[in-house]
Amino acid sequence: MSVIVRLATKADSKDCNALHNKAYGVARNLDQWNWTFQNRLFPDLELPFIVAEDDGKIVGTQALIPIQMIDNDGVYWSAKSEETLVDINYRGHGLFEKMYEKAFEVAKKSNVQSIWGFTPARKAFLRVGFEIPMDTSQLFKPLRAKCVAVLLSNGNSNSESVRLKDFFKKILFFLVGAMASTYSNIRQFFTIILKPRLEIVELKHLSSAPEQAKKLCFDFIAHWGGATIYRDQKYLKWRIFDNPFNKANMIGAYVNGELVGYCAFSIGEDEMGYIVDIIVVEPTNSDINSRNIIHKLLSTASSRMSDMGACGIRGWNMTNHKFDKLIADEAKKLGYVSIDRGTAVVLHKSYETNDLRNTIEFENWSVSRIFTEGRNG
């Protein structure tokens, strides 16, 4: 075995995509591959994608997706770890470590301050120096009886002996789902009728990335602190509006004509809805506060996903960031529940970089599903 590890070129895209499709049994097309890995947000880094190649055959991949982060000290580059794959016949030969050696070189050269991602492969990432600050967890709103079955679906066994068990499991999930959705809908009903209608907050559909996104993001960090993805117009255009998998619907909240927040939501496979992203700042010269705006955005998005036939709605909520805590608080009033079920967050910021700056601890990041790879919006 004489495997070489190198940076991929555009000519490798087809083979890299094929390895992914084979591993996950999906049919991602090349447009989707290009969108994911060539977002062109980082001007000097054309294709930060590492491949392991054996005799001309791609047997491993590791991508870094350049993403700008923002904190009170300004904007800096990070990278999202994605597309970690090693062909089953090549596992146990240290290919992952070798690919990450190359990835760290790329990160150093491009002055990427941290690499982060979400993965079930804890041990492998710990081995190459990543830390696991926490696991992802989520907010979940049950809308229909089948929501629990869909949320927990892991594929059904075909074995004869477990059929009866599966049958009872289905009944149990259905009953739990029915009860949970009844509770959730009643809670939302009372919350909405007891809240003032907040006519001053005007919601509008955003058909393109708003120009004010950059200001909104700076205001967000100035008010709430911590760190988050820097969502300027260019980023939102790429991540939401040009997304070839699923372009989330985006509603903007305006107070006195000023954009004070937005919520992006979508429906995915299995009739599950997703709160992809939500950002709100404190409006100036108004009696309305950010809590009211969050309520209006969340309740509208939830109703629209319910109308789209969603059986449940998922959103991420995991850190101690002030804004994320407020979201969780308002979401619970609308019948959302917290579920600690997710994968490991992996973060690495101690590899050698050229121009190291202080970065915020993960527990003070504001994290939404916009941190995911975007298949469900």
Partner: protein, 471 residues
């Protein structure tokens, strides 16, 4: 003779329109540069230079004959109504031993199948002309249409013929045989999504009575889910927009996710069991909230078939609400007479119509997924109404087998090119009374996304067709 030349010109135009919309420029150039002629069968032997000669005077019987399916370059093609070889001196160009083309020693190539009159019969509604039988909604029934009874409604025979023709032209030009792979020429599938907005509020008396009726029938048929009808009667009484008007917005939200747009065909006018069930304020409310790139069309009410007064009254009422001219439409219940209705549509300014569909099955009523100008046989003239036959609609996507058929058809069309029309009613998109339809529209859009289909507007199709046909 004048007449056959005129019809030949018509057929050539429809082929050109289809190629221009569904194929890249190279294909259109190849078609334009080809020596392709339409001639009487008996004149073919006397041709003295190489060309593709399509016989234009062989009439078909009303029932399709010699239906044959062949696989070429991993794609299935259906042929029917065979033409005999002019003489033994003609070579048969075969696939699996079945002739697709004939060629003589001069280099004249002719099809082994009567494509010309197959197209003329379909685009001039031969089936409707051959019988006066109609169902209670005045539509030609499936069982009275020989083309559909023969199973040909399941395949886009016109699209397949164009693909075979272009392969032949390409092969002839480059000298690489009759059946080269021309997939590089095919543009991404084009789609026109639409919603017939019949019922916008679920609390009208007809819908409520319908629920009671379905509950009673449910008991007799052993479908006890329908017994939940009092719940939904009550639910829609208090929340009439849920599962109806809200679904229109929800479908728009879902379409945005995939980068698609759609047409809303609005029903208004006279009320009744088969007519308009809501009041005009519901229509106004809906139209106030429709985003910019979603088009508004007229859903010709049940009473408007060949009735100019009621048609015009309905159209004017809708135009008054939206403040602009309505030029696209589809008939409610597909109650439409292709032999007469086009005159009415032309008179009243309709330029794009999607009424040619099959009420009882999904598929290709006139053998095509694309747009064409119908041939009005009575006056031997071409209608100015651009027609997109309806191929797929919600009522026939309510089982796994039917969805699988849809996926198969879309896969097939993405290889040979076409324009697909898909209809989803608001009440079918997501309705607790019809759980079989849960998630179906999402799957439909996902299937279209997988083949990288592109949404197109009627305006785009009208402009393209008009330019390509030189109108």
């Amino acid at each position: 003779m004048i007449e056959i030349n005129q019809i030949s010109q018509y057929v050539k135009e429809q082929i050109r329109v289809h190629i221009g919309i569904c194929y890249k420029k190279d294909a259109l150039d190849c078609f334009d540069q080809a020596s392709l002629i339409f001639v009487p069968f008996n004149d073919i032997e006397s041709l003295t230079s190489p060309c593709i000669a399509i016989p234009n005077d062989i009439k078909n019987q009303s029932e399709p004959n010699d239906i044959t399916r062949l696989n070429i370059n991993d794609t299935n093609y259906t042929f029917y109504n065979k033409i005999e070889r002019p003489s033994n001196s003609w070579e048969e160009i075969c696939i699996d031993g079945v002739a697709v083309w004939y060629r003589n020693n001069i280099g004249v190539i002719m099809p082994a199948w009567n494509h010309f009159h197959n197209i003329v019969d379909l685009f001039s509604f031969r089936a409707e002309r051959d019988t006066k039988l109609r169902d209670k909604h005045q539509r030609l029934n499936f069982k009275d249409n020989p083309f559909l009874i023969a199973g040909l409604g399941e395949v886009p025979v016109f699209n397949e013929f164009i693909n075979i023709l272009l392969a032949c032209l390409s092969g002839k030009k480059s000298g690489i045989g009759f059946f080269p792979d021309i997939s590089e020429w095919v543009r991404p599938l084009k789609i026109v999504l639409s919603h017939d907005c019949d019922v916008l509020l679920g609390n009208d008396k007809y819908s409520q009575i319908g629920r009671v009726w379905r509950g009673i029938i449910g008991i007799l048929k052993g479908n006890f889910y329908n017994l939940t009808f009092p719940l939904w009667m009550l639910y829609n009484f208090f929340n009439p927009r849920k599962f109806y008007m809200n679904n229109v917005y929800a479908m728009i939200d879902m379409e945005r996710q995939f980068g698609f747009t759609s047409i809303l065909y609005i029903l208004n006018g006279v009320g009744g069991r088969y007519g308009f069930r809501n009041n005009l304020s519901a229509v106004k409310e809906l139209l106030e909230n429709i985003p910019e790139n979603w088009e508004i069309g007229l859903h010709y009410n049940y009473d408007t078939l060949l009735d100019d007064v009621s048609f015009l009254r309905q159209k004017n009422e809708l135009q008054a609400i939206i403040g602009q001219e309505v030029f696209l439409g589809r008939a409610h219940y597909l109650k439409f007479d292709p032999l007469k209705s086009y005159y009415q549509l032309e008179t009243h300014g309709i330029r794009f119509d999607e009424s040619l569909g099959m009420p009882h099955i999904n598929g290709f009523k006139v053998g095509m997924a694309g747009v064409f100008y119908p041939f009005l046989n009575q006056d031997k003239k071409v209608s100015s109404v651009l027609t997109l036959p309806l191929q797929f609609w919600d009522s026939h996507l309510n089982s796994e087998a039917k969805i699988a058929n849809f996926e198969k058809s879309i896969e097939h069309l993405s290889k040979i090119g076409g324009v697909v029309s898909v209809l989803f009613h608001p009440g079918k998109f997501y309705n607790i009374e019809d759980p079989k339809m849960d998630g179906v529209y999402y799957r439909v859009l996902k299937t279209l996304q997988r083949v990288q289909a592109k949404s197109v507007s009627p305006n785009y199709l009208i402009q393209q067709a008009s330019y390509l046909s030189g109108k």
